[in-house]
Structure formats: structure tokens, C-alpha cells
């Protein structure tokens, strides 16, 4: 995406914005204002030119460990289900019935509210060919959207950042957690990750130490640049201040320090000022989504947020453990949606869950399940086409693949749907192949 808009392309530029395609969010504020002024319709109506502050947002929610899909979206009327799970199979009134055949796990009361409000899409039977039962490998496949027999260094969101977001503002993607998810890995700056806003800065007590730190690292431009430009884009000043050439390790680290500085001030400011308008569970997921809500409310121009919830690898004593996790999932997501609604941002936000695999149909001897394959995922938002997508894979023993559910829908179709219909970008350059986009919005 070019950083400069020339006179020749202005007309095309206006056309694409009016049609609703999103611009690179790093369009500097002054340019967006100019376009708004130029296009009278935009000026009159409530719809504004799509810039960083109006763009759609995707929140990716990783359920790490391999969530047992069958006890999440329960085929409660299915004989095979109960035969395969005499001890851990779910039944009874507490099940949250979606229809005559499927129900949500009783712990998903949060999702029930979303379902009742028409804000929940359940995508069934998601997986991919030649599934891997290795946590690492399968997670890598979901993160990089690669075929299962290939290894890709970059993540699908990283390729989205490279393709769709020009410029180098590091807040293209924000991951809450200790490590950058592989989904963000990209050729150019990869987005940021942070755990705790208070610590996401150069901590110092002594006077003058932070100033010296900035001077030492040529970071003085970073602070100024961030202030100049309220849309967050600061390509011009960045290019001027920093040596972008050179492949040395020191250069890479310098750029990262710059990214950290630019995003740190912005993020801490937002985290301190924005008040949340919902009650989040005190869990890691709850805290992460709360922070995401603040960042969105504070106007951070990021298009993609990433949060994760761990613990789904329920080999033993699954029922209690999974119930706790799903309760957390439902409650945290519901709080987040509530918060977005109160902010007036709900129409811009979509939450998508994923897990590296589902689990086997039969229970094991320890009251749990082992690694499997296909499973459902959830998409949440008020512009989502609520309800059930895809087909519940058959549980009949002859229809299983080595004891696992066969997938009906490749996860890359879901990604394509999210990329094309929500993030408004072509999915082919990002996924490497053409996948029919699932129409969830």
C-alpha cells in the first residue's frame, strides 16, 4: 500500500472508500479529513470515511490445548455420543438447547445470552486435511494457515499485516500475553505484544534516566511522532528518523525498540484513562479482554487483537475442568460484548475463537479425552449471521477417521470469510490458495 496519494489516484481512492472497502488504517488523519471534506455525502451522513478510528476489528481468541468440541456443542440426542461417553457424556436439563439435536455445555451461560441476542454463530465440523494430533504442529497449522504437510514461517495475520497494512506503525496487531503468537509473525514489524500495561514501558525511578534512555536509543523522534498524528500513523517521521536499511541484528532490535516506545506511551495512556463498562471475570482471559476493550475504547487504531485462554488439554477428569474453562469463556466474552455495546463499538467488532484440534469421540480411561481432530468454533458480534453453520460431523464409528470426527469445513474457509467480508481484504494473497469465504457476516 503506497504511503502517498497522488492526484491521479485520488478519484479511485474516494471511490473505494465510499464503497466501504477499508483503507490502510495508517492513512494520516489530515488526509482522511481532507477526503471527508471532499466527499459531501460522507460529510452529511453519519457514515464516515473508513479510517483507523472506524475500521472493523477482529479479536482472535485462542482456546489453547485442544478443546473438546463434542462436550461444548453437544449432540445430546445422538446414541453414538452417549455410547462412546458413558461417564463424561452430558445430558439433562442444564444443557443449553440450540435445537432438537444440539445443545451448548451448561457452563456456557455467557454464550446463551449472546445466542438469545442473535450475536452468536456456531461453525461446526471445522478442521483440515491430514490432521495433526501434535499440539505444536496443529497450533502452527492454524496460526500459519498452512497445509498440514508444509511449514510456513509467517502467520496468517502477519501476512495480513504485510499485505493490507502499509507503513510500519507497530500497533497493526496487538497480542495480550507474554509471547507474540505465531499468527503475527511477518516479514515486517509484527505487531506488538504486551502483558501488563503498567510494565509495558522502560521502568525507572531516577530522574533523567528515562530521558537518557530515549537519547541513547534515538527514540526521541518516536514520542514526538506519536503525538503529532492522532490516527496513529507516523510513517513520515519514522522513515526520517530511523535507519531502515541493513539486515543486522542491531538494526532489527533498534526498530523493535522504536515500536515499543511508540506503542507504549499510547497504550499506557489509554489503559489508564478508559473506563470499562462491564464486569469481567478475574481470569487471565477476562483481564485480557478487558484490556482489549480499553484499547478499542481509547481509539487505538489496531485492526486485530489476540487473546488466549489455556488449559483445554483435558486428558483426565475433563467434565469439571472444561466446565470451568467454558464458564470463563462465556462470561468473559459476554462482558466484552456488553462493554463494546456501551462504547458504541459493537458493530465494529468480531470475536473468533479457535482451538488447535477437537478431541476423540470416545472417552479414555481417565475420565477425559485424547487429542482428536474436527471441532466447532464460535464467532461473536452483532453483525454476525447468528445460528449454526456447517454440519455436525457424523459420530457413527464407520464415519470416523481413526476414532476422530472428520472435518466438513476447512478452517481456511473461515479465515477467508473473516478476511474478505470483515477485514475487507483479498484472502488469496494471504492464504496462498483460493478458499471459498464462509459468509458469517
Amino acid at each position: 500500500m503506497k504511503n502517498e496519494i497522488t492526484l491521479q489516484t485520488r478519484r479511485e481512492f474516494l471511490r473505494t472508500t465510499v464503497l466501504g472497502s477499508s483503507l490502510s488504517w495508517t492513512v494520516p488523519a489530515f488526509l482522511a479529513n481532507t477526503l471527508t471534506a471532499l466527499h459531501s455525502e460522507a460529510a452529511d451522513s453519519a457514515t464516515q470515511v473508513v479510517t483507523g478510528s472506524d475500521a472493523t476489528i477482529l479479536v482472535v481468541l485462542q482456546m489453547a490445548g485442544g478443546n473438546d468440541g463434542l462436550n461444548t456443542v453437544v449432540p445430546y440426542a445422538n446414541d453414538f455420543y452417549h455410547r462412546a461417553r458413558p461417564h463424561i457424556g452430558l445430558s439433562g436439563d442444564k444443557l443449553i438447547k440450540l435445537n432438537d439435536e444440539l445443545a451448548l455445555n451448561p457452563a456456557l451461560t455467557g454464550f446463551k445470552s449472546l445466542h438469545d441476542a442473535g450475536q452468536l454463530a456456531v461453525v461446526q465440523g471445522v478442521g483440515y486435511p491430514n490432521p495433526s494430533r501434535s499440539h505444536f504442529r496443529s497450533t502452527e497449522i492454524w496460526q500459519t494457515a498452512s497445509a498440514s504437510d508444509r511449514s510456513e514461517p509467517y502467520g496468517w495475520l502477519g501476512r495480513y499485516f504485510d499485505n493490507a497494512c502499509g507503513g510500519s506503525d507497530p500497533t497493526a496487531g496487538v497480542a495480550i500475553g507474554g509471547q507474540l503468537p505465531q499468527a503475527f509473525f511477518a516479514k515486517h514489524p509484527r505487531g506488538i505484544c504486551l502483558n501488563n500495561p503498567q510494565n509495558y514501558r522502560f521502568l525507572s525511578k531516577g530522574a533523567g534516566t528515562e530521558e537518557s534512555y530515549r537519547k541513547l536509543n534515538d527514540l526521541e523522534m518516536a514520542g514526538l511522532a506519536a503525538e503529532d498524528d492522532n490516527s496513529g500513523g507516523s510513517i513520515g517521521s519514522l522513515a526520517a528518523g530511523m535507519p531502515m536499511q541493513g539486515g543486522s541484528a542491531v538494526d532489527f532490535i533498534s526498530r523493535t525498540a522504536m515500536d515499543a516506545q511508540m506503542s507504549s506511551d499510547k497504550i499506557r495512556d489509554i489503559a489508564a484513562k478508559v473506563q470499562t463498562q462491564a464486569t469481567y471475570p478475574g481470569s487471565q482471559l477476562g483481564t485480557s479482554l478487558k484490556l482489549v476493550a480499553k484499547l478499542i475504547g481509547g481509539g487505538l487504531p489496531s485492526r486485530v487483537y489476540y487473546v488466549s485462554q489455556g488449559g483445554y488439554d483435558t486428558h483426565t477428569n475433563q467434565v469439571g475442568a472444561q466446565a470451568r474453562l467454558l464458564k470463563d469463556l462465556g462470561d468473559a466474552t459476554q462482558a466484552f460484548v456488553q462493554d463494546m455495546k456501551a462504547q458504541g463499538n459493537l458493530p465494529r467488532v468480531l470475536v473468533m475463537t479457535f482451538s488447535e484440534f477437537g478431541r476423540r469421540v470416545s472417552e479414555n480411561a481417565s475420565g477425559g479425552t485424547d487429542h482428536g481432530a474436527a471441532a466447532p468454533l464460535f464467532i461473536v458480534g452483532n453483525r454476525v449471521k447468528a445460528g449454526l453453520f456447517g454440519k455436525q460431523p457424523s459420530l457413527a464409528p464407520q464415519d470416523l477417521h481413526q476414532g476422530d470426527l472428520k472435518y466438513n469445513l476447512d478452517f481456511r474457509n473461515v479465515y477467508a470469510g473473516v478476511l474478505e467480508n470483515w477485514l475487507k481484504t483479498k484472502s488469496l494473497p494471504i492464504l496462498g490458495k483460493a478458499f471459498e469465504p464462509l459468509s458469517v457476516v
Binding site: N199, K215, V250, A260
Partner: protein, 496 residues
Amino acid sequence: MLKPLPVRDWNYAMAAHLLNRAGFGGPPREIEALADRGPESAVNFLVDYESILDPTPNPAWAKPDPDRLKKIREINQQGTPEEKKQLQREENQLQRDRLMELRGWWLQRMAVGPRPFQEKMVLFWHGHFATSAEKVRNAYYLWRQNELFRRLATENWQHLLLEAGKDPAMLVWLDQAQSSRQHPNENFAREVMELFALGEGHYTERDVTEAARALTGWTLDRAREKFIYRPQIHDAGPKTFLGRTGSWSGDDVIEQITAQPQSARFITGKLWNYFAGQPPSEELNTGLAAVFRASGGHFKPLLRAMFRSGEFYQASVLRNQVKSPVQWLVGSVRALECPLPAPLISCGMTRQLGQDLFAPPNVKGWDGGTSWITTNTLLARYNDAESLVQGTLPPMGPGDLGGKTKAAGGGGKKGVRKLQRVRMGGVEVGKILTPEERANQSLLVVSLERRLFQSPLKGDQKRTLLDFLASRTLLNDDDILAAIRLMMSTPQYQVT
């Protein structure tokens, strides 16, 4: 190709480079001592470590414990459900505590041990064989594997690969313990070729299946906590492996793998990448493999040739490798001559920076290089530098104190409480600066430069530091520590 560095090019900076890469760096006097030896003797001093005594004791529990195992078996067979649950809880806690102790024990060896090159090789093998506590929930097994790497660090490749394959931790990690003639498990067979010795594309799927058959019989005697060969579960039939047919055993498979020319290329390429910070060119890799094969697959001649070579001291190699979290921590305490923080904190630091010892993120170990650096981990390095230097507690949450799962040592809330009671050392200014240096700001900066970077700072960086020091009314220890911390908060400090 691989001609030794000329003596005239050998100096303090080159000696520092050698010590940083072949070890974990050190204070100026150690670098000076190494420099004084000259290039050949310096390399031999590091590589021939056997002559240096290492009296470090092992953890008390680092041995088989048949009585405890017997007790566990009895409870599992005859106990009530409550007793079994209680046992499970105790066992989990025991393993978590021992794992923490093990991590601290190893970091301490790296930080103060007299054989830095040996420990650096142990770290290499640890990443290479990438065995994780998340699945091997037995600190004794993990210690045994670590000690195996130490014992055979620079011996013979075939011997090391064989021993590593038969080691209990590996038998559990890659499921060889569950393999049998009736149900051969292919995990180890595949990974030994794909990850450990040949690389993808240098064997076929058929080779994997046949190797798995040959390896049956290799299993774990859980009661005695060691490898055992059980002929009754071994598939003794003919197998066609890497183009040759015979009634191969597991030992045969390992021998044939390491006999492949590709095996020499593969492992020498990995070693060069680890020490030089970048993959070797095709030509260089060929040269390294040739040296390795000529020595019969022994590591010392190869490593000696590597550390003597002009290629190792090329401009593109110098100061261009991102320090791993362990290198960052251990190198810092060595250079600053300060104590390693208590295990809870040291492990928390390296984990926070992305390297959890005994819990690599996947079977490929740690990617290394620039992948160590994200906005989060970079700021964490700068903030941990403050704690290290001042002897204060670093900002950490429960997540940093624990592994991904409780099995990998997750500390949770209890860990945070433990943290409040732990003490740290910090840098002693009097130990690293002479009175003259403390009194004169220019000398101070030059001295710290030499200690921390072994090469001069950029002009304006130096000026910034001098300005910082000049702005202090009384140049006391705190100010000097702050200056050290600033120097550690630069991109230059993150590379070695």
C-alpha cells in the same frame, strides 16, 4: 576454507568474541587472560575442559529411588480413591519443586562453573533434543538427560545419539517406551531422522516405518528407571532402511544414520549456526562436514577448527548474534560479577524473555536469532536489567513464574507470594570499578564500555551517558548502577 585466524589479528576483542560465543562471556580480566594465551591456546583452553576440575555436586534426588516407586505402585494398586488423589497431588508438587531446583542448579553451573564451553554445549544439545517437562514429568529423568549431554558433550556423534535415544527422558518424550513389535510407535524413528540427524528430505516414509520396526525392543524399565532391551517385543524380521536390507536393530539404525554424509552436514551446520549466529554457506558446510568425517565423527577436532577459523572472526559474524535469554542472564552476571538471582527469579526472567529451560516451545527447540526480540521481551530485558543491577525484584506476574502448565513448573499465586520472600544480590560497584574510575566519569564510561560491550560505543551514545553522569549531583553507587542499567538497555547489549 577454515584457515586459522592469523596471530596478528588476535586481540582483546577477538578473545571476547570467543569467550562470548564458546561460553557466556566474562569480566575483563578473564578476557585478558584468554587474549594473552594467543588464538590457538585460548581455543584449546576452552575446548579441553576435562583438565579443569568441576566439583559441583548433583541435586540430592538425582538418583534412582526404587523405594518411593514401590510405595507409589502400592498406593496405585491398593489405595482408596482419596489416597490416590493425595498421592497425585504430592507427586505433582514434588516434581514441580525439583524442576525449579534443577533449573536453578543448571543456571548456576552456567553462571559460575569453571567449564563454560561444556555448559554451552549442554545448552546446545538441550535445544537440539528439545525434551520438555510438560510431558516428561520426572525431574530425575530430566537431570539424567542433562548430565548425559554434559558427559558426552564433545565426544562422538554416533555414541551421543545412541545414548540420547536410550535415555529414559527421550524414551518417554518420543514414545519409544510404548513401542512394541505389535504396535510400533514411529515418533522417535521419525524425529531422530527429521530433527536430530538428517533433516527433512533425506529419508523416506518407508525408512521411518522400517526404523520404527528396528527400534522395537528399546523400552523403559520404569521400576528401575532405566533403559531396557526386551527381545520379546523386538521385531527381528528383515528391514530395508536407507537402501540396505538386513535384520536391523535399533543400534544398527543409529549407526547407519550417523554414517550418512548428510548426517555430518546436518549436525555441523547446526553447530556452526549455534556458535556463529548464522547458517554456514554451502561451501563452508562442506568444509566443516569434511573435518568432522575425517575425525570419525568426533566433535573436538571440528569445534577446534571452527573456533580457530578466520570465518568465525569475520565482520559479519562479530556482534551479530542476538543473545538468548539464558545468554543474556548468565552473560550479565558473569560480566558484572554479581550473583545469579535465586532460582525462582532467574527462571522467571528467562521464561519471561522466552526461554524456559526444560520446556522448549516445540520439538524444534528454540528458533533463536531475532525471534527472541519482540516489543514485550525487549522492554522486559531493559526492566530486568534494572532488577539485576539494583538487586530488586523484577516486575512479574503469576504467569511469568509458571510454565504453560502446572507440570512445567507453573507457580501461580503461590509463586508470587514466594517471590516476596526472596532476596537478590545486585552489582557491587566497588568490585567492578577502581577508585580512579569511580572518580573520573570518562574513565568510568570507558571501563564499563569495555566490560559490557568489548567495543566502543557510538560517539553520541557515549556523550549521552557522560551527560547522564554529569547531571548527577553526587556520583554515588546508585547513579553508577543506573548508568550500567542504561548501557544494558541498548540494542548493542542484546547482541554478542
